[in-house]
C-alpha cells in the first residue's frame, strides 16, 4: 500500500533521512522505532507532504505522492496524528472531528448558506460519521463532551479526539505519531486495544511511531528501526529486539557485546 | 544584477539627455542628491522599525508617529523658546527623563538609584534654566527633541506593549495601530491642525549651487548635512550595538529572549533601550525632514506616509537587519525620487510623479511575495 524507496532529506548540514526504504502492506500495523532524533517525525512529515524529500520516492496505492500538498495527500487517503497534539483548541470535540469531512463535501458555499437539502444530507452524514469514529473510544467522548471545547479535556481525551479526527478523514492509511505519549499504563493498554480494533474493525492500515516497547511488541506485525535517519533493522518485534545493531543504538556498544536484549517492555498481560 | 540595473539607468539618462533632449545631466545630478537625502531620511526612520522588530517581532505601527512627535517637539523648542517657567519645567522634565534613561544605560543602575536621581535633578534644574532664558537654535532643539522623543518611545513600550509581552502577534499589531491613531490625534489636539512652517535660522538651508557640464544644479547645503548625519548616527548606533554591554544584550535578546534572561539580561530594560534609540533616530529624521521640506503637515497626516514607506524600506532591506534598514531606506529614496526623474513629464507623457506614493507599497508587496527575508535579511519559518 505504501512504498518508500531510497528516501533522503537534509536540513542544511543535518542529514535527517538517509536512503530509507521500506513498505507497508494493506491491513498491516507497522511500527517505526528508534532513539530520539532518529528522524521518525521527519519521515511522517515527508509522507504527509509537509517536507519535500530531496530524493527518493513515496508511492501510495501505486501512485507517487511526492511533491503533493498536505491536503491533497489527505484526499489520496493518508491521515496523521501529531506528536505534540495539534487539535483545534477552541473548537468543540464534535467540530474537531467534523472538519476532516469537509474535503468530501460536494456542495458549494452557497448551498451551505441556503441549507439546501443536498447540503443538509451531507451535514447529517458527516455528523453521524463523526459520532461513529468517536464511539471507538466508548461513550466517554459522546453526549455532553461532544460540545465541550477541546481545551477543557484531559490529556488522554485529547489524544483520543485527535485519533478520532484522523479516522474521520476517511483515510485508508493512518500515521500515528506516538499515540500513547503521556499516557499511564492502563491508558496505554486501552489505546493498544483501540489501535488493534482500528485495524480489525475499521479496516485502517496503520503506521505508527512509538517509544513504548510493550505497545510495539503487542500489536506490530512488523517493526522498522531507524537511527540517525537510516534503517538499521526490519522484521518482527522478536527479531528486531535481539538484533545487535538495534541493541547498540538503544543501549550502547557494551550492551550489544554483552548480548543483552532491547526488549524493555512491561508485559501487558500482567497489568490489572 | 546591480550592474545591469545601473547600465539600464545610464542608457535611459543618455536617451533623455542626448536623444529626446528633455533633461540635462545637471538635473540628474540634482535628482541623485535629492534621492540621497530622501533615502537618508527613510533610512533613519527604518532603523527604528527594524530594531524593534528584531527584538520583539513587532511591527511598531506607531513609529511613524514617533517621527512626527520628534519633528513637532523640535519645532516648539526652537520657535517658542524661551518659555515661561512652568513650561520650561515641563519641557525640562521630559528631557531630564531622557538624560536619566541614558544614565541608567551608562552604569546599569535602576531608575530609582540615588545617582540617577541626582543626575535627573541636576538636569532638571539646568534645562529649566536653559529653556526659560535662551532661545534655542535648531541643533540644540534637535538634541533635546531626540531625548524627549526617546522618552516617548519608552513610554509607548511601557504602557501599550509591555503588558502584552507573550500575547499573540496580531494583538500587538492591533495595539500598535491604536497607539498610532492615538498619537496622530494627540498631535492634532495639542500641536496644531494646520501645516506648520519649519524654518529655523541656519546656514544649512542656504542655497548651494554648482555646475555640471555647463548647467547649474540648485540645491541647498542640506545635501551635505543629511547624509553626514546619517553616517554619524548610524556609526554611533553600530558602535553601540557591537561594542557595549547593552549592545551585546540587545543582540542576544533578539536571538533568544528567554535564554538571554537566564543569562542575567534584563530583557525589559533592553527592549526599552531599543525603543529609546529608535525614537531618537526618528526624531533626528523628523528635524531633517522639516529642514528639507520647510514645513510640517498637520500631525495626523505628517507621520503616516513616511512611516509606512520607511517600514517598507526596512522590509525591503531585510527586517531585523540594521544594514538592511539603511540599504532599504536609500533604495526607497532613489525609487521615489530618481525613478520619477527617469520618466519625466513631457508633452506626450504625464509622468509618474502622481504614482510616487504607491512605489513603496508595490515594492513592499513584491518583496514580501518574492523574498520575504529582504535583500539582506534572515529567514524565519515555523517548525512542525
Amino acid at each position: 500500500m505504501l512504498e518508500i524507496t531510497n528516501l533522503s532529506k537534509a536540513f542544511g548540514g543535518l542529514q535527517a533521512t538517509t536512503d530509507l526504504s521500506f513498505s507497508v502492506n494493506e491491513g498491516e500495523i507497522v511500527s517505526v522505532i528508534g532513539p530520539n532524533g532518529a528522524g521518525k517525525t521527519t519521515l511522517f512529515n515527508q509522507i504527509t507532504g509537509v517536507y519535500r524529500p530531496d530524493s527518493g520516492d513515496i508511492r501510495f496505492e501505486g501512485r507517487s505522492i511526492v511533491g503533493r500538498k498536505p491536503s491533497q495527500i489527505v484526499h489520496a487517503g493518508i491521515a496523521r496524528t501529531f506528536q505534540n497534539l495539534r487539535l483545534f483548541t477552541n473548537l468543540s470535540v464534535l467540530e474537531n472531528v467534523m472538519i476532516p469531512q469537509h474535503h468530501k463535501l460536494r456542495s458549494n458555499w452557497l448551498s451551505a448558506v441556503l441549507r439546501t437539502p443536498g447540503y443538509m444530507r451531507q451535514e447529517k452524514a458527516a455528523y453521524e460519521y463523526a459520532l461513529d469514529k468517536l464511539s471507538f473510544f466508548g461513550p466517554r467522548l459522546m453526549s455532553f463532551r461532544l460540545h465541550q471545547p477541546v481545551y477543557v479535556l484531559s490529556y488522554a481525551n485529547r489524544r483520543r479526539t485527535e485519533m478520532a479526527r484522523a479516522m474521520a478523514t476517511e483515510a485508508r492509511l493512518l500515521l500515528l505519531d506516538e499515540p500513547s505519549a503521556g499516557m499511564n499504563p492502563s491508558e496505554t493498554a486501552e489505546i493498544t486495544q483501540i489501535i488493534r480494533r482500528m485495524r480489525d474493525e475499521g479496516g485502517y492500515t496503520i503506521l505508527l511511531v512509538e517509544h513504548k516497547m510493550n505497545l510495539v511488541g503487542e500489536i506490530s506485525d512488523r517493526v522498522v528501526v531507524l537511527d540517525y535517519g537510516r534503517k538499521i533493522a526490519e522484521g518482527s518485534y522478536r527479531d528486531v529486539v535481539d538484533d545487535p545493531a538495534v541493541i547498540e543504538a538503544y543501549l550502547g556498544k557494551r550492551a550489544a557485546e554483552e548480548g543483552r536484549t532491547a526488549d524493555l517492555g512491561v508485559d501487558l498481560e500482567e497489568l490489572p | 544584477m546591480v550592474a545591469a540595473i545601473l547600465l539600464l539607468i545610464g542608457l535611459r539618462i543618455h536617451y533623455l539627455v542626448n536623444v529626446a533632449e528633455v533633461r540635462s545631466y545637471a538635473s540628474f545630478v540634482g535628482a541623485f542628491f535629492s534621492s540621497l537625502q530622501l533615502g537618508s531620511l527613510y533610512a533613519l526612520i527604518a532603523l527604528g522599525y527594524t530594531m524593534v522588530y528584531g527584538i520583539i517581532r513587532l511591527i511598531n505601527f506607531a513609529h511613524g508617529e514617533v517621527f512626527m512627535v520628534g519633528a513637532f517637539v523640535s519645532y516648539f523648542l526652537f520657535s517658542n523658546t524661551p518659555y515661561t517657567v512652568p513650561g520650561a519645567i515641563l519641557g525640562a522634565a521630559f528631557v531630564s527623563f531622557g538624560v536619566m534613561f541614558l544614565a541608567t544605560l551608562w552604569r546599569g543602575h535602576r531608575l530609582g538609584h540615588p545617582l540617577i536621581l541626582a543626575v535627573g535633578a541636576v538636569s532638571l534644574v539646568a534645562f529649566t534654566f536653559v529653556l526659560s532664558t535662551a532661545s534655542l537654535g535648531w541643533i540644540m532643539a534637535m538634541i533635546l527633541s531626540m531625548l524627549t522623543t526617546g522618552v516617548v518611545g519608552v513610554a509607548i513600550d511601557r504602557i501599550a506593549y509591555r503588558p502584552l509581552r507573550g500575547a499573540p502577534r496580531l494583538s500587538l499589531l492591533i495595539t500598535a495601530i491604536a497607539v498610532s491613531i492615538f498619537l496622530q490625534n494627540f498631535g492634532l489636539l495639542t500641536f496644531s491642525q494646520r501645516q506648520t512652517p519649519f524654518r529655523p535660522e541656519t546656514m544649512w538651508t542656504d542655497p548651494f549651487s554648482f555646475d555640471v557640464l555647463g548647467q547649474a544644479v540648485f540645491t541647498t547645503n542640506l545635501i551635505i548635512l543629511t547624509p553626514l548625519l546619517l553616517v554619524v548616527l548610524v556609526t554611533g548606533l553600530h558602535l553601540f550595538v557591537t561594542r557595549t554591554r547593552i549592545g551585546r544584550a540587545m543582540r542576544a535578546t533578539s536571538q533568544d529572549p528567554e535564554t538571554a534572561e537566564m543569562m542575567g539580561v534584563n530583557v525589559n530594560r533592553v527592549i526599552a533601550t531599543v525603543f529609546f534609540l529608535g525614537a531618537m533616530l526618528a526624531a533626528a529624521a523628523g528635524v531633517l525632514w522639516g529642514l528639507n521640506f520647510g514645513s510640517l503637515n498637520q500631525p495626523a497626516v505628517f507621520g503616516l506616509l513616511p512611516g509606512i514607506k520607511a517600514f517598507s524600506a526596512a522590509v525591503i532591506g531585510g527586517i531585523g537587519s540594521l544594514p538592511g534598514a539603511v540599504l532599504g531606506g536609500l533604495i526607497l529614496g532613489f525609487l521615489e525620487n530618481f525613478l520619477t526623474a527617469l520618466f519625466p513629464r513631457t508633452p506626450d507623457f504625464a509622468g509618474i510623479t502622481e504614482y510616487k506614493d504607491t512605489f513603496a507599497f508595490i515594492a513592499l508587496i513584491l518583496i514580501l511575495l518574492v523574498k520575504p527575508s529582504g535583500l539582506v535579511g534572515e529567514d524565519l519559518s515555523e517548525k512542525v
Binding site: 495539534r86 467540530e95 458527516a126 455528523y127 | 492591533i174 509606512i308 504607491t358 514580501l368
Partner: protein, 459 residues
C-alpha cells in the same frame, strides 16, 4: 444536529424580528434625523464590520484593507447610479477628467440598451440601485480575490501589512490620471442619491442579509473549516482542508459585502470621494471587530454600535471649552479611573494596593484639579482649548484597553443564541450522565453508586 428546542427558537427569532421592525418604525418616525442617520450608519458600517469579521475573526487573518474594498464598491455603485443631472453638472464644471463615454456608464443606460426601457425610468431607481450595489460588490470581490492570493504565502503581521498596502494603493490610484476618467479624480461624484443610504429600512435589510449569510456560513462546514484554519492552519491542511480555496473564499465574500457597504456609504454621504475611504475608516472597523470579539457576530455589532455612537454623538467632545473646564473634567475622569483601579485591586486582594495603575491616575487627576484651581491669575492657564480629535483618541484608548485586558474581545467567541438566553448548555452533563461518566473512570464510585441504588431499590 438535532436541536430539541428548534421550534421554540424559531418562534422567538420571528418575534425578535418583529421587535426589530417595530424599532425601525419608531426610529424612522422619531423626527430626529440625527438618530435616523446614526442608525443607518450603524447598519452600513455593520455590514462592513460583520463581513470583515469573516476574515479577521473566523479565519484568523488580520486584514487591514477593508477600506479599499469599500472604495471600489462605493465608486462603482456611484458611477452606475448617478442621476443624469449630476452627470451634466460634472461636465459643466469644466474640471472633470471624465469623458462623455465614461459618464454614460449607468444602470439606466444598461437597461435601455438591453431593451428594458421601462426599467430605466426614475421610478425604478430602487431596482437600479440594487443592481448597482450588486455589481459594486462583485467588483470589490474581484479585488478580494487579488488580496487573497498573498494570504496563501504570508503569515500574520506581514500579511496584515500587505492587505493594508493593497487598501492604500487602491486609494492612492483612484485619484490618479490612470483612473480618473472613471473616478473623476480627486473630485469624485457629487449628487449620489441619498434616499437609500440614509434609510434605516434599506440599510438594516441589507445588514440582515449580511448577518444571515455570515451566520449561516459560520455554522456550516465551511465555517468550521475556516475556524480550523484560524486555530491551526497546519493541522487543518493535515485534515484535508484546502487552504487556498478556503482563504480566498473568505476574502472574496468579505470583499463583496464590503463593496456593498461602500455603495451604501456613498449613498449615505451623498458623494463618492477618495478621502471618504482613508485608513481612519479601517481603524473604526478594526475597533468594532476587535472590541466586539473574534468571530462573534453579536460582538461585532455591539462594537459597531459603540464606534458609530462615538462618531455621531461625540461632537460635544470636540468643541472649544475653557482650559480649566478641560482640566476639571479630565481630572475627574482620571481620578475615577484611579479609584476604580484601587477598588478593583482591593476587591481582588491584589497587593500592592497602590501600584502604578492606581497612583499614576490619582496623581495626574489631582494635578489637573490643582491646576484648574490655581488657574485664575496664571496667564497661560487661562484661555480655551479645542478638543480636536478626541473621538479618535477615545476609540484608540478603548482599543488598547481591550487588547491589554481582554484581547479576545468583549464577546470572545460566544454568540447570541436563544439557548444562551435560557442558560441551556449542551456541554454539561445531566445528573444521570454524571453518574455514568464517573463509573467509567472510578470503580470505587461505581460500587458506591451501585450500593446506593440497591438501597433505594430495597426501600
Amino acid at each position: 444536529m438535532p436541536d430539541p428546542k428548534r421550534n421554540r427558537n424559531r418562534l422567538l427569532t420571528l418575534a425578535g424580528l418583529g421587535v426589530v421592525v417595530l424599532l425601525l418604525y419608531l426610529i424612522d418616525n422619531s423626527g430626529s434625523s440625527k438618530l435616523v442617520q446614526a442608525f443607518a450608519l450603524f447598519s452600513i458600517w455593520g455590514i462592513a464590520a460583520v463581513s470583515l469579521n469573516l476574515v479577521n475573526g473566523v479565519t484568523g487573518i488580520l486584514s487591514l484593507g477593508q477600506h479599499g474594498f469599500m472604495l471600489i464598491g462605493g465608486y462603482v455603485t456611484a458611477l452606475l447610479i448617478l442621476p443624469v443631472q449630476s452627470r451634466i453638472r460634472i461636465i459643466e464644471s469644466g474640471r472633470s477628467s471624465m469623458t462623455e463615454e465614461t459618464l454614460s456608464i449607468s444602470i439606466a443606460n444598461f437597461f435601455s440598451a438591453i431593451g428594458l426601457e421601462s426599467l430605466a425610468a426614475p421610478e425604478y431607481l430602487w431596482l437600479q440601485f440594487i443592481v448597482a450595489l450588486f455589481i459594486g460588490g462583485l467588483a470589490a470581490s474581484f479585488f478580494g480575490l487579488l488580496v487573497g492570493i498573498p494570504s496563501l504565502r504570508l503569515r500574520g503581521d506581514y500579511l496584515a501589512i500587505v492587505t493594508l498596502g493593497f487598501g492604500e494603493i487602491i486609494r492612492l490610484l483612484a485619484a490618479t490620471s490612470m483612473f480618473s476618467p472613471y473616478t473623476n479624480g480627486a473630485l469624485g461624484f457629487a449628487g449620489v442619491p441619498a434616499e437609500f443610504g440614509k434609510s434605516v429600512w434599506w440599510t438594516t435589510a441589507i445588514l440582515g442579509i449580511t448577518v444571515f449569510v455570515m451566520a449561516r456560513l459560520k455554522y456550516s462546514s465551511y465555517g468550521r473549516a475556516l475556524q480550523g484554519i484560524r486555530e491551526d492552519e497546519i493541522a487543518a491542511a493535515a485534515m484535508g482542508v484546502n487552504l487556498a480555496y478556503s482563504k480566498i473564499l473568505a476574502f472574496v465574500l468579505t470583499a463583496f459585502f464590503a463593496g456593498v457597504a461602500g455603495g451604501l456609504w456613498v449613498s449615505w454621504i451623498g458623494t463618492a470621494r477618495v478621502d471618504q475611504f482613508l485608513f481612519t475608516l479601517m481603524f473604526f472597523l478594526l475597533v468594532a471587530v476587535s472590541v466586539g470579539g473574534t468571530g462573534s457576530i453579536t460582538g461585532v455589532l455591539m462594537g459597531t454600535a459603540i464606534v458609530v455612537f462615538i462618531r455621531q454623538y461625540g461632537d460635544p467632545l470636540e468643541q472649544t471649552y475653557a482650559l480649566t473646564d478641560w482640566l476639571r473634567a479630565g481630572g475627574l475622569i482620571v481620578l475615577a479611573g484611579g479609584f476604580g483601579a484601587f477598588i478593583y485591586r482591593a476587591a481582588r486582594r491584589l497587593r500592592p494596593r497602590l501600584n502604578a495603575m492606581v497612583w499614576v491616575p490619582l496623581g495626574l487627576g489631582t494635578l489637573a484639579f490643582a491646576a484648574a484651581l490655581v488657574a485664575p491669575g496664571q496667564g497661560w492657564l487661562e484661555g480655551s482649548f479645542r478638543g480636536f480629535g478626541l473621538r479618535a483618541i477615545l476609540l484608540s484608548v478603548l482599543l488598547v484597553v481591550i487588547m491589554v485586558f481582554r484581547p479576545e474581545g468583549v464577546f470572545g467567541r460566544s454568540e447570541f443564541s436563544w439557548a444562551a438566553v435560557f442558560r441551556e448548555r449542551r456541554d454539561r452533563p445531566s445528573d444521570e450522565e454524571r453518574g455514568q461518566d464517573a463509573w467509567l473512570s472510578n470503580p470505587d464510585l461505581a460500587d458506591r453508586l451501585a450500593r446506593q441504588e440497591k438501597r433505594e431499590g430495597d426501600e
